[in-house]
Amino acid sequence: MPLRTLYRASWFVKASFIICFFVIFFVAGVTYKNMSDLSESSELVEHRYEIGIQLEMAMSYLKDAETGQRGFIITKDSVYLDPYFSGRENINNSLAALKQLLQDNPTQKKSLRELTELIDERLANFQEAQRFLVQKNNDIESPKFIPIFSKGKVLMDEIRQKIKEMTDLESLQLHEKQKEYKNNLKLTPIFLYIIILLTLVIMVIAYRKIMNDVRMFKIKNEQLELFRESANLSEIISKHGRWKWDIEDDSFEFSDNLYRLLGEEPHSFPPTVENFLKYVHPDDVEKVAEQVTQMREEKDLPFIFYRVVHKNGNIRHLKAYGRTVTNKWGKQNLLGTTTDITDEIANFKALEERNIELERNNRELSAFNHVASHDLQEPLRKIQTFLSRLEEKEEENLSATGVKYMSRIKNAATRMRLLIDDLLQFSRTNKADKIFEISDINVLFEEAMEDLAEKIHEKEATIHADSFPKMYVIPFQIQQLFINLVGNSLKYKAEDRAPKITINYEKVSAEGESLLSKTSHENYHKITYKDNGIGFDNEFAEKIFILFHRLHNRNEYSGTGIGLSICKKIVQNHRGYIFASGEEGVGATFTIYLPIT
């Protein structure tokens, strides 16, 4: 893994190239050194041969002189003495050349001095022999000549020995030097070869890395291109436009769709503030220009709303927002989005209008309901009052049928009174003054029972209620709820038994209740109200709450069909739920859920 990370690192290529550069530099240095060593070596060889040649030449001149002298001795012809005369000068030339050649080598220099001395001695010996021969008339038999001649031979041998010594030393030194060079030359090619191979490997890896990076760049580029395309699409769908403001350069970039929001083809004009402001509605130009100035100073743009006018005269509403973003190198760009909210505004307006209309309808309906039931009361009251007067004053003047009819009229009027009262109450439940307070439900229940005390006593009903906690409710409506429920139970009591009512309380969470689904609150007060009245078929469990809906004939029971509708209305006002279930002849159960806020 570390190798892989190394390979991935962005400085890898740079490092590879630096290494290659140094390796090539090094290889060039080593090669240069080898080349110069090689030429030095050949110079040395040449040098050695020069020395050898000069030594051989010196020796050969000496031999020539010796041979010449011997020829002279035998023939007495002085022609043979030529090499002897020229020998002296030639030898001196060779010795001078040798001195030059051997000046860097102290051992050889010393040997050369000794050689020179020997040669000088030999030449002196020649001269001595020559002088003797001339004086004694070439008497080679003379006992004086023999030692001179013999000394010459000894000196020649010594000289030959010295030259050999010198040549040998030179050869040895050359040999050693050459051995050294050979060693050097044997190692360097392998070393260089390995290094160059290594460099090649590094370069190949670097190349691969570069190619890999290029491939990755291409992939990333493609992804970016796709992303850009999808961003463009989503801009079109969501009616967005993007813009970028380079704060340093004071230059803008507009996205394609921003041009479309202004009703233009993409990039149809240079993106500048001046060009943009041409599209802003004349009434909004000042505001927008001010915002742009503010943006320059604060580098942050709050939401701004303005209108633009398209070439065709269409007015669109836009909303813009921008924020400064600083990149790694401290460069600041203000990035912004602009949205066309014309449709939203239109929708909002339509909704608002409908709301107003709805509210007006509701108010009218409520007023109608109130006025109708209120105004209906007046003539009804008079009918009832006149009936009571008639009954009091004229009853004895009526026939039996007349009395019966009058009693029917009275019943009808009473029933109408009941209907109107209930309707009034229903419209009151609908009215707007829903003031919620934290209320003691036990007290509200007690007050409701006081209202019904007479009827409860008359029907000999027994009522058991749990203790309730305090709740956040509209007090008079909750009291009404209890009145209506208990009133209902008393009204629909079973013939054969006294009414028995139980009210249970429980605090529940919405999740655990099978009756509740899609509730707005998590926890609810659950009030379970149960009676032992005539009950009803579960088929009617929902119809029972519908306004004016009755399950029984008017002759049997006197209900108006409004009481339970009011109950439902009250529970709805509290954002709660009421459910009914029943069994015919056994009793009814009402389950009420009021949200815990």
Binding site: Q377, E378, R381, K382, T385, S388
Partner: protein
């Protein structure tokens, strides 16, 4: 001022109601003198006239054309000359709103028009025989609405 009988006034635009009202007092064995006015304007014109004989108890219907009972109530309460008049609201409606507003404006009692003649007589008898001094000083909203 003759103190042998109680001076009663009623302002109500409804002819039948005025008839029930006067009939009820005719049948009651109380010494009263009943005057009725067809609406608030007639009533106030009379009360504001110089030789007006101010009633002891004034019954005011709320819903009247030209000048409503509420407007009459405000005018009467604003004028110290009428301080001694006991005011009974006499209306078909018994809405919380009306009861509340008339109580605040200083009416003394509120009667919901009953639906039988017998109850009417009972209510009127009760109102007329109330010891106003005592009733007014209480200023109690609980017994403001007359219960029958």
């Amino acid at each position: 001022m003759n103190q042998d009988y109680i001076n009663i006034a009623l302002a109500d635009d409804d002819e039948d109601d005025r008839l029930f009202f006067t009939d009820a007092f005719d049948e009651l064995k109380i010494q009263t003198r009943v005057t009725t006015y067809n609406d608030g304007v007639y009533l106030m014109d009379y009360l504001n006239s110089e030789d007006a004989l101010l009633p002891n108890v004034l019954f005011l219907d709320l819903n009247m054309p030209r000048k409503t009972g509420m407007e009459c109530l405000k005018e009467i309460k604003a004028n110290p000359k009428f301080n001694d008049i006991a005011i009974a609201i006499y209306s078909t409606s018994a809405s919380e709103e009306d009861i509340e507003n008339t109580f605040i404006q200083g009416a003394n009692i509120y009667i919901k028009k009953p639906d039988s003649f017998k109850k009417l007589k009972k209510a009127l008898a009760e109102v007329v025989t109330i010891n106003w001094q005592y009733h007014t000083s209480g200023l109690n909203k609980d017994n403001f609405l007359l219960r029958l």
